[in-house]
């Protein structure tokens, strides 16, 4: 037990990958075995992270459960792991969504072994980003998550998967190029990649000295945008979002769940973990630009979403819309770091990350459920399904309401906090964003109307296409999500407490 208590993070981090490697040696063809094995393997990190959630001392400063191992000594990089309130939230989200996504993919019948292995590798990749306190290791995991996702889309996606997966890959890799170069710049300058040390060195550079033939402030500005663009693509912030609808739409259901639920958070996490501490000056200076982009994402995301006829694409665009609020909160925090308003906005942004993880994963799953039965995602071909599948309808409405921001459910809490925090700081942008929120309601209701209400499309009522009700496994996937949505909506304090203390200490 001693071993476990001193190696919590590395256990959580590497368990899925080790399990995946172990799976490699399991005999082929046993699809059932693979599914349950993968599910079990992903539940263990979840249990461990729940356990550290309770052990976590939210009022203690700095990082907890730290571990440090040799990795790439030659470059001064170590495998340094640790969590604070911010990353712990994300770790919890990741370990929660992965088993659900795996459970959601029990209907996969092709190449199950490879699929499950990729999922487990993906989990390690995502967790690594949230846990690492070393910039190089951060980048390593940042990139590693890409490849399983690429193959998940490319191998198990729908018709246009080749295009979508390639676009996803090139966008993200291209985006991380700047990140790579900026990280190298930092490493070259200071000979270490340790995040804490780097932050100190980097922020204490004299702005009027010169680096690489330019003034420090210029270099910093360039490096800031190198980081920002990499994260912005991942979030994604308008206008870097165009890969997202394609990737989400073409990905298999569970892939979309993880993509929207966790991968997008990586970008936002990058903003919080790296950009705000490393570039406080630049963040303030460019906050307006960031807010403008965030607002554009909110408004255009909502409008685009409204215009879709493809159910999954509609949900995909809603991610752009929702993540816009996260960025808006970050922009506000960057503008006035340390003020109460900024803290509120940040609280909202982080909670919004968590919430969007829940609701987007849920929405994608529900789209997947109906797609699997109807083999269409065209909204025009649904209609009046509520009478056929009332349970499904209920769940869909519930999840949509969370996404819409209905008071009493989680979405409302976080969006309210963001808007409340940024109102005094970025009033104009916030006003426009509120208009965007209006469209959010519009497209969600439109989707509900097209799917559940209106005249019944007779095609689904009888015969071979008769729609079947959501089954137990699928309900089991949705249950934890809905539970959390409700719980946070009603009693957000349990999670906000952790987040808030982290924010207070960080900024």
């Amino acid at each position: 037990m001693d071993f476990i208590s001193t190696h919590f993070l590395s256990l959580i981090l590497f368990f899925p990958a080790l399990a995946a490697v172990f799976m490699l040696f399991l005999p082929g063809g046993e699809n059932k075995l693979f599914r349950w094995f993968a599910l079990g393997a992903s539940l263990i990190p979840f249990l461990l992270s729940v356990s550290i959630w309770f052990q976590f001392k939210s009022s203690a400063p700095g990082f907890q459960f730290q571990e440090q191992y040799e990795w790439y000594e030659a470059l001064g990089s170590t495998l340094h792991l640790g969590v604070d309130g911010l990353s712990l939230t994300m770790v919890l989200l990741t370990t929660l969504l992965t088993p659900l996504a795996i459970l959601a993919s029990f209907n996969i019948t092709e190449k199950v072994k490879a699929y499950m292995m990729l999922f487990l590798f993906l989990e390690t990749g995502m967790l690594g980003v949230f846990m690492s306190l070393d910039l190089l290791v951060f980048f390593v995991f940042w990139e590693v998550g890409l490849i399983p996702m690429y193959f998940l889309i490319n191998q198990w996606g729908s018709a246009n998967r080749n295009y979508a997966s390639m676009k996803f890959l090139i966008y993200t890799m291209g985006g991380s190029l700047g990140l790579l170069l900026a990280i190298q710049l930092l490493g070259v300058l200071f000979g270490t990649y340790d995040l804490v040390a780097l932050t100190q060195h980097w922020t204490s550079l004299q702005p009027d000295s010169t680096l690489l033939g330019m003034s420090v402030s210029q270099v910093k500005a360039i490096a800031f945008w190198a980081f920002a663009i990499a994260f912005a693509i991942k979030v994604p912030i308008w206008p870097f979002h165009t890969w997202l609808p394609d990737a989400h739409t073409e990905a298999p259901t569970a892939g979309s769940m993880i993509l929207a639920g966790v991968l997008l958070k990586l970008g936002a996490y990058g903003f919080l973990r790296l950009i705000l501490p490393l570039y406080p000056v630049e963040a303030r200076y460019f906050a307006g630009a960031l807010a403008l982009l965030a607002t554009a994402a909110i408004v255009f995301g909502a409008l685009s979403s409204f215009a879709q006829t493809d159910f999954k694409r509609l949900v995909a665009y809603s991610s752009v819309n929702h993540m816009g609020f996260v960025v808006l909160g970050i922009a506000a925090a960057g503008l006035a770091s340390g003020t109460p308003d900024a803290t509120i906005a940040l609280n909202g942004a982080i909670l919004q990350m968590f919430n969007h993880g829940l609701s987007a994963a849920g929405m994608f799953f529900l789209v997947g459920v109906i797609y699997e039965r109807t083999h269409t995602r065209n909204l025009e071909e649904y209609g009046g399904l509520f009478t056929l599948v009332p349970v499904y309808g209920g769940i869909l409405i519930f999840t949509s309401m969370s996404s819409l921001g209905l008071p009493g459910l989680n979405g409302f809490i976080s969006e309210f906090l963001v808007v409340r925090g940024s109102w005094p700081l970025l009033t104009a942008y916030t006003v426009v964003s509120m208009l965007g929120l209006f469209f959010t309601g519009a497209y969600i209701l439109k989707a509900l109307k097209k799917v559940l209400h209106g005249p019944l499309n007779e095609r689904w009522a009888h015969g071979e296409h008769k729609l079947t009700e959501i089954n137990a496994r699928e309900i089991l996937v949705m249950a934890p999500l809905m539970l959390l949505m409700l719980w946070i909506g009603v009693y957000p304090a349990w999670i906000l407490d952790v987040i808030n203390k982290a924010v207070m200490m960080l900024f």
Partner: protein, 503 residues
């Protein structure tokens, strides 16, 4: 007298080649078995050298020295340092895997392996390996060039006899002439150094360790650096002298492509470093900008040309140009990070590209075409090869957790310290590489299998799988655990830096 392990490693392939030649021509399986046994023996010895290399004392180890031609100061002086020890290991690995995949397959639709005169094939291949190993362990300039040339000429025969019958004659001749021109020009430079040392110190010696302190004048170094460096670097595929390389790769039989891209190109880079940069440091500093420019162009240009290739093997060939450009780029930084990266990249690229060529060869043997658009769906019939190629592809893209990242990252760090603009420009190649690698994986392995292949394509053999697994293991181990190789390369790099005057 310590155990002369380096001479044994070096001469094992030669002895094996001679014995193989004595086997009657119709005993093909015996020939292969003997080849495999001696390759395995070499691999084991090279592993032993690798793991018993003492990183705390660094410097040249396992040194052996026998006078060979005292009148001219030629000696058989062997030794490995932190840069060459991994390359010796790489040679062992590529030799072993190359023999494995040349074994062949009895399936009627498959024309894998070497069926025509395997005796001569393995003999020539091993003579090639003899030369390669000799270069990596030689500390004597004369013997280095001696082995270098030995490594060149078997290529001609191997390509022209067992190569792809469409272009083999053209490609083999082109390759040989390019390499010969490069090596003879380097030879002239080496002789000039030899004579200049004689004038300066009165010592007639080809020993590179004494040449390091020969006190070549700055103007001498500036004049002779370029011929020596570029002469060797031709074999390293440096732009604009890279033209032979893709043609050669494409025309060569699979095992030879593996050897060629996996080891031989490292030979050029290694010799360019060992003789060019280490013996003529002042000249190197003077021409730094030029090497860096050439290397940077190679990196980006190679990647772009690889991107537009329709022939699978050409694509891999040009990707080699791009990756070897990174090695040269690391050399041209003259700092600890860049050189460390180059040392690692030599190993990483060697294993990766050998793997690529192995898989490409397996596919071609079965599908009889290499046109990317004509291929598809290979993952269904050869999943193992697919995984292998994907791993190789990830290494090639510089994906973290694989050796490519471990190697490329320090190179870029080194370049940052010299000129940030070059680093930014070269980083574009990463995305281009990702694009073409992923596109090809998708098309060749996962696309729809053309109807004509249905039922005709069979899985690869067990030996092929062993070869793929061997290569993959090294790439993954280094990626996960850089300490496997990085500290060793570092010790070698320190030595180079000392010669460069600590810059």
């Amino acid at each position: 007298m310590t155990f002369p392990v380096l001479s044994i490693i070096t001469f094992t392939p030669l002895v094996a080649a001679l014995i193989i030649l004595l086997i009657p021509a119709n005993r093909k399986n015996e020939t292969r078995a003997l080849a495999l046994a001696s390759a395995a023996f070499t691999l084991v010895l090279s592993l032993w050298v690798y793991f018993s290399y003492d990183q705390t004392t660094a410097g040249y180890q396992f040194v052996e020295k026998y006078d060979w031609l005292p009148a001219l100061g030629v000696s058989l002086h062997f030794g490995v340092d932190g840069i060459s020890a991994p390359l010796v290991l790489l040679t062992g690995v590529v030799m072993f895997t190359g023999v494995l995949i040349s074994w062949g397959d009895d399936h009627p639709h498959v024309m894998a392996g070497i069926q025509d005169r395997p005796r001569e094939f393995f003999a020539f291949l091993f003579i090639l390996a003899w030369g390669v190993l000799g270069v990596f362990v030689s500390l004597d300039l004369f013997m280095l060039i001696f082995f270098y040339e030995i490594a060149v000429f078997p290529m001609y025969l191997l390509i022209v006899i067992w190569g792809w019958n469409v272009t083999r004659e053209y490609a083999a001749m082109k390759l040989t002439l390019y390499l010969l021109i490069g090596s003879v020009i380097a030879l002239v430079g080496a002789l000039a150094m030899y004579m200049a040392q004689y004038q300066n110190t009165g010592a007639l010696s080809f020993d590179m360790l004494t040449m390091e302190s020969a006190g070549f004048s700055q103007s001498f170094q500036i004049i002779w650096f370029l011929p020596v460096f570029l002469g060797f670097a031709v074999l390293g595929g440096i732009w604009p002298f890279h033209n032979w390389s893709p043609d050669g790769h494409v025309a060569a039989p699979t095992a030879v492509s593996m050897f060629h891209a996996g080891v031989l190109m490292k030979l050029g880079a290694f010799a360019a470093l060992r003789v060019g940069i280490m013996l003529l440091p002042e000249g190197a500093k003077y021409w730094q900008w030029l090497i860096m420019a050439f290397a940077a162009i190679a990196v980006v240009y190679g990647a772009y040309v690889a991107f537009v290739q329709m022939d699978f093997k050409y694509m891999v060939g040009f990707s080699s140009v791009s990756h070897m450009g990174l090695v040269m780029l690391g050399f041209s930084t003259f700092n600890a990070d860049g050189l460390l990266g180059s040392g690692l990249q030599m190993f990483s690229h060697g294993a990766m590209t050998a793997l690529f060529f192995a898989v490409v060869g397996m596919i071609y043997d079965r599908a009889h075409t290499r046109q990317i658009p004509e291929l598809g769906g290979m993952s269904k019939v050869m999943p193992f090869a697919t995984v292998g190629f994907i791993i190789g592809g990830l290494v090639s893209m510089g994906m973290p957790l694989f050796s490519g990242f471990i190697a490329e990252f320090p190179i870029f760090m080194g370049v940052w310290q010299v000129h940030w603009f070059v680093a930014v420009v070269c980083s574009i190649s990463i995305v281009i590489t990702a694009a073409y690698i992923m596109r090809n994986i998708r098309q060749v392995f996962f696309g729809n299998m053309p109807e004509k292949f249905e039922g005709h394509i069979t899985d690869i053999t067990v030996l092929d799988k062993v070869a793929i697994a061997t290569l993959c293991i090294f790439m993954i181990v280094i990626g996960l655990y850089p300490k496997f190789m990085a500290p060793m390369v570092q010790t070698g790099v320190e030595y180079v830096l000392r010669l460069l005057g600590g810059s």
